[in-house]
């Protein structure tokens, strides 16, 4: 059973005794209070405010606030920037999810063996996780520039590289690459921990029975680490839909709106063009997308995650 599964299903992992009032229940409530109230005051309440704002025309500069019903949403549907923004967010998220999980599992499988130097490589792959996202983005900005290090290296091979961040066909994938290499080490570590709990005997038995390495990977390793795939999949999806710094620092949403992901579109609408009501509607849509994708992964889990409940 995954940690998340046990969590969401009400802590059924704990032994079930007949609930008897706990002498310390007030202490329990007091221990939880700071964080629970914090989440309510700084998360839940503001979220309902955002829903309310999204039904209003609100320009903070003039102080004008007026109830307009669903008009912000009908404006969104007609706004080509919005459809481009949803597309950019979905493509970015799909790219990050696939690339991140494939690389994370691949690296974990490569490093999950008794071999000299695996610790060193694990350290290298994890290191971008501790690097500041601003420093990481700025550095990749230099490397991806038209006359930067990557095109310089391609030149030496006789290839003329594109203007990675300004070409509509390469800008989004460049951001995906920057985001994936920044964070994939974290997932790799989680997969390494999961792989180390797969008993060696099972794989050896499969090998003796004549299973090829790829067969034993797909029918033994993958099912055994499926709970971790589910958890990292959900967390990676949420994280990728929240991306902001690399977009602002590397492409500014362009060229066109090809990298204008929803959080960045929201930021520009709220804090550059000062339309709080319209920006709130974008926020509601962003939350709806995160909710839908999380529910999708969570509800389909029984089809492919066998090792739980």
């Amino acid at each position: 059973m995954t940690a998340l599964a046990s969590a969401a299903e009400g802590g059924r992992a704990a032994p079930r005794r007949r609930p008897r009032p706990d002498r310390d229940r007030w202490l329990g409530a007091a221990f939880v209070a700071p964080q629970a109230l914090g989440v309510i005051v700084l998360g839940v309440v503001p979220f309902f405010f955002v829903i309310w704002y999204s039904f209003n025309e609100w320009r903070p500069l003039t102080g004008q606030m007026e109830f307009i019903g669903l008009e912000n949403y009908s404006r969104l549907i007609a706004d080509p920037t919005f459809s481009a923004s949803v597309l950019a967010s979905l493509l970015f998220s799909a790219g990050v999810l696939v690339l991140n999980l494939v690389i994370a599992i691949g690296l974990a499988v490569l490093l999950n063996r008794r071999m000299k130097g695996t610790t060193a490589f694990r350290t290298i792959f994890f290191s971008p996780v501790v690097v500041s996202v601003v420093a990481w983005s700025v550095t990749w900005g230099f490397l991806l520039a038209p006359n930067g290090g990557i095109n310089g290296a391609l030149d030496l091979l006789g290839v003329t590289g594109p203007n990675w961040l300004a070409d509509p066909s390469t800008a989004l994938i460049s951001l995906v690459v920057v985001q994936v290499f920044k964070g994939v080490g974290m997932n790799m570590v989680l997969f390494l921990a999961a792989l180390q709990s797969v008993p060696e005997e099972i794989r050896e038995a499969a090998q003796l029975d004549g299973a090829s390495p790829s067969k034993s990977f797909w029918s033994i390793t993958v099912p055994m680490i499926a709970p971790t795939i589910l958890l990292t999949g959900i967390l990676t999806t949420i994280g990728s839909l929240e991306v902001f710094a690399p977009v602002q620092l590397l492409t500014g949403g362009g060229p066109g709106d090809s990298t204008n992901v929803l959080p960045f579109f929201l930021y520009r609408t709220a804090f550059i063009s000062q339309q709080f009501g319209y920006a709130s509607a974008i926020g509601v849509v962003l939350f709806a997308i995160i909710l839908a994708l999380t529910m999708l992964q969570w509800t389909t889990r029984r089809k492919w995650v066998h090792d739980e409940v």
């Binding site: 940690a3 969590a7 229940r25 007030w26 329990g28 221990f31 939880v32 700071p34 964080q35 629970a36 914090g38 989440v39 700084l42 998360g43 503001p46 979220f47 955002v50 704002y53 490569l110 071999m115 130097g117 610790t119 694990r122 350290t123 290298i124 792959f125 994890f126 290191s127 971008p128 501790v130 690097v131 500041s132 601003v134 420093a135 700025v138 550095t139 490397l143 520039a145 930067g148 310089g152 690459v177 989680l190 390494l192 921990a193 999961a194 949420i238 839909l241 902001f244 602002q248 620092l249 959080p263 929201l266 709220a270 920006a279 926020g283 962003l286 939350f287 995160i290 999380t294 090792d307």
Partner: protein, 287 residues
């Protein structure tokens, strides 16, 4: 005496090992090269940053970039800002999320599961979505351009739920014998938590502490929204403001500021990487 077959098998496995190392080295490049390039390029003169063919090491070593880091902005003060904010956030996150995680795992109280589910659900609301009401509230309280929102939000906001979750998983899987023995000796529940359960929760403390520190130290979006004057900037925001200062290119200066931000954290990571990686891997987040 070795047979031909076993010699062939051995050389095949050696070939596999060599292939594996070559593969790992090649894959390392996009993880390692940017950081190395950032570090060495901060010792280059500005006109060498885009010099072709590209080179990792400076042709001409100079500290000009670093010197300007400190003259163009109050970098020392900005460094101090980031450090003190991250220190408060880390300490408070450990204490508060350990208390909450302990209560969720060990104490039965009214609405426990409802509150926990609500907290997990709040993780799906990105900071960007709730930033407008929070921004107006911060403004109304006159706390714009102060460090208060950067301290309060990561400690109490929805991003802290992961920490509560890690501690809850730790306490759920940690044996209760020590705590029960202490309770029989008449120690209060709070005493059990502070004197026994918390000191024994070192892996969870390490994981939560590291994550809280990194999240605060590398915070960017909230700093961009709330901070206005360079004296109040944190490092992430400061790094972005070295571009085209006074209209001249400060590429090496920007990379120098980035290096000064990243390298100390990397050094701590290299020294403590075992605790870093294993603490994160062993703490509840795994399946």
């Amino acid at each position: 005496m070795r047979s031909d077959a076993s010699r062939a098998a051995r050389s095949r496995s050696r070939a596999t090992t060599v292939t594996l190392y070559v593969l790992l080295v090649v894959v390392s490049v996009p993880f390692l090269y940017p950081t190395l390039w950032m570090f060495f390029s901060s010792f280059k003169p500005a006109n060498e940053i885009f010099l072709q063919p590209p080179a990792l090491l400076p042709r001409e070593w100079t500290l000009d970039g670093f010197a300007q880091v400190f003259t163009a902005q109050p970098f020392v003060q900005q460094y101090g800002n980031s450090m003190y904010i991250a220190a408060i956030v880390t300490a408070a996150s450990i204490l508060l999320s350990a208390m909450a995680g302990y209560a969720f795992a060990r104490i039965r109280f009214p609405l426990r599961n409802a509150v926990f589910t609500l907290m997990l659900a709040a993780m799906m609301v990105p900071t960007e979505v709730t930033i407008i009401p929070i921004f107006t509230a911060v403004n109304a309280m006159g706390l714009n351009d102060t460090h208060w929102p950067l301290i309060i939000l990561p400690i109490f906001g929805p991003t802290a739920v992961v920490s509560v979750f890690i501690f809850r998983q730790h306490f759920l899987s940690f044996p209760t014998e020590y705590e029960e023995a202490a309770r029989l000796d008449g120690v209060s529940r709070a005493g059990v938590f502070f004197r026994i359960a918390l000191p024994l929760a070192k892996p969870a403390i390490a994981a939560v502490g590291i994550m809280a520190f990194l999240r605060s130290f590398n915070m960017y979006f909230e700093a961009l929204i709330f901070l206005r004057t360079p004296e109040n900037f944190t490092l992430g925001l400061a790094i972005t403001r070295y571009q085209d200062f006074y209209g001249e290119q400060m590429w090496n200066t920007q990379l120098g500021a980035a290096s000064l931000t990243v390298v100390p954290i990397l050094v701590v990571f290299l020294i403590a990487q075992k605790q870093f990686v294993q603490g994160l891997a062993q703490t509840g987040l795994k399946g």
